[in-house]
Amino acid sequence: MRSARSPFSIRSARMVLPILVLILLGTAPLYASLYTLISLSNVFMYIVLTVSWAVFSGPSRYISLASAAFFGIGIYVSAILGNVLPFPMVVFIGGLLSFLVALFVGLSSLRLRGMYFTIFTFGLSELIRHSVHWWEVNMTGTVGRWVVAVDQKIVYYAMLIIVMMTVFVAYTMSRSRLGFALRGIGESEDAADHMGVNVNAVKIITFAVSTFFMGTAGAVMATRWTYIDPSIAFNPLFSFMPVLMAIFGGIAQIVGQIIGATALTVLADLLLTKFPYYYMLSYGVILVAVILFLPGGLMALQATMKSWHERSFVK
């Protein structure tokens, strides 16, 4: 046990483990079943949504419930441009359009603080969903759309690349001046403002950047569903799940966010296939239990258990 605790082996494990995981994931299409690949793409989707949501909402503490809006924008870009432009272009435009919409939304909404911001973003998401629905019914004549299908392996690799980009940007951001400023805003927006930070610019830029990845993920995932309509594309679950997953895993660290997204996606998959009748019930119980007993998420498991131990010891 002593040797495992030495700083050298911890450091090397930290270096080696992600590389091993990446190699495994990168070669998965060579040996894994199609079912596994589809499940993994699903996990990737939630990792992208969770990590990119936390890029902005984690440090700033502005809880956004608009992820579904930006994810859905990507989906619709894919549905509309899928058979016009090459796949990578479609994905990029999906991200870009999300980014631009977020810039516009940011300019109009980031003056709102706390609960008002959260409600606004949720309302915005719903507004976009209903507007698209209205447009489709009154202008296009049909509610749904077909999306050009793309090979599952391409979907898998596209999602893997987006995950890597998202994690890279999230990590870089967290160590940058911009990330530092955003943390200051989360701690005390007034103080950050008075210390020379252009708080509105920082909030709007990071918010918009974070939505870029949601849009790209939407554009890729749409090709897998082949049929979409506004209630699929702008499903409010895509707004709530990233928040839950980040809290579940531990919002303060990117690793925690990834673990949260992975654990909840896999858990939902397992429960749905093994216990279809008790799926929602058991899922809910587990969520409630983790949030009640592990306020810092799965990442804080060790620390929380230690404090339990100490408490029982004192008694």
């Binding site: 530092f180 701690e187 005390s188 007034d190 210390m195 020379g196």
Partner: protein, 245 residues
């Protein structure tokens, strides 16, 4: 030569007047005290100077440049930094990070991180918080939190500091130390404009004192003149202080 000058500054909150045609000025290198009863508009005046609030009318100039209605971050970068009546630190950041924040964002010229870190450590030593770099700000005592706020404000390379009740809630020994700190800050060539209720302290260190009452300036002068001013004694200092002096 005034470094800060306000001309007939007015601020209304609905029908309530928080600043009524207030003229004020702070000279380079001075320590100016701002006193008055609760609700007199002292913090509002600081909010107007630092950009938290925009005046209804009137103008504020800093180093001869009009800064009326600028945003707080713009005013900070021009060289005015402040502390808050109710401490507003970055509680979950370390002491060093708090000061680093001011240094990285508040200076008009962006400095390298290593230089900023060195300057921040020195500032922490200056305010008497050496050895606490890695402590979380929220874990400090109130007296130390106030010192940290001063260090963070100074880290922006401010030429003018607005100190809002940095001595409130401190015990007498801590007040004495805070008075020494303000004197040393002036020694560094930084101009100080401070709100204070601790009379002994403010009378002791101010070169000049301004008294506000219901948003109006009712007196201005040296501490001695203020202590003898009939109107000030009536509305603020009270008979006790009169008897003492």
């Amino acid at each position: 030569m005034p470094i800060l000058e306000g001309k007939s500054v007015v601020k209304y909150f609905g029908g309530l007047v928080a600043a009524a045609y207030v003229d004020f000025h702070v000279d380079q290198g001075e320590i100016v005290g701002l006193i008055g009863p609760n609700g007199a508009g002292k913090t509002t005046l600081f909010d107007l100077i630092s950009g938290s609030l925009a005046p209804t009318s009137g103008s504020i100039e800093f180093k001869g440049e009009d800064i009326t209605g600028l945003k707080p971050h713009e005013i900070c970068r021009r060289g005015i930094a402040r502390t808050f009546q109710l401490v507003k630190l970055f509680g979950n950041m370390t002491v060093l990070e708090n000061v680093l924040f001011g240094s990285l964002f508040g200076e008009s010229i962006t400095s390298a991180r290593s230089a900023a870190e060195k300057a921040s450590s020195e500032l922490l030593e200056f305010v008497g918080l050496s050895g606490m770099n890695r402590v979380l700000a929220k874990e400090l005592s109130l007296a130390n939190q106030k010192r940290l706020e001063i260090a963070r404000a100074m880290a922006t390379k401010a030429e003018l500091l607005l100190l809002d009740e940095v001595m409130a809630g401190l015990n007498p020994a801590e007040v004495d130390k805070a008075v020494d700190l303000v004197k040393e800050i002036r020694h560094k060539g930084i101009t100080v404009f401070m709100i204070e209720h601790v009379m002994k302290a403010i009378m002791g260190i101010s070169d000049r004192i301004m008294v506000l009452h219901f948003g109006t300036k009712i007196a201005e002068g040296t501490p001695d003149e203020i202590a003898r001013d009939k109107k000030v004694i009536e509305v603020y200092l009270g008979l006790e202080a009169h008897a003492e002096s």
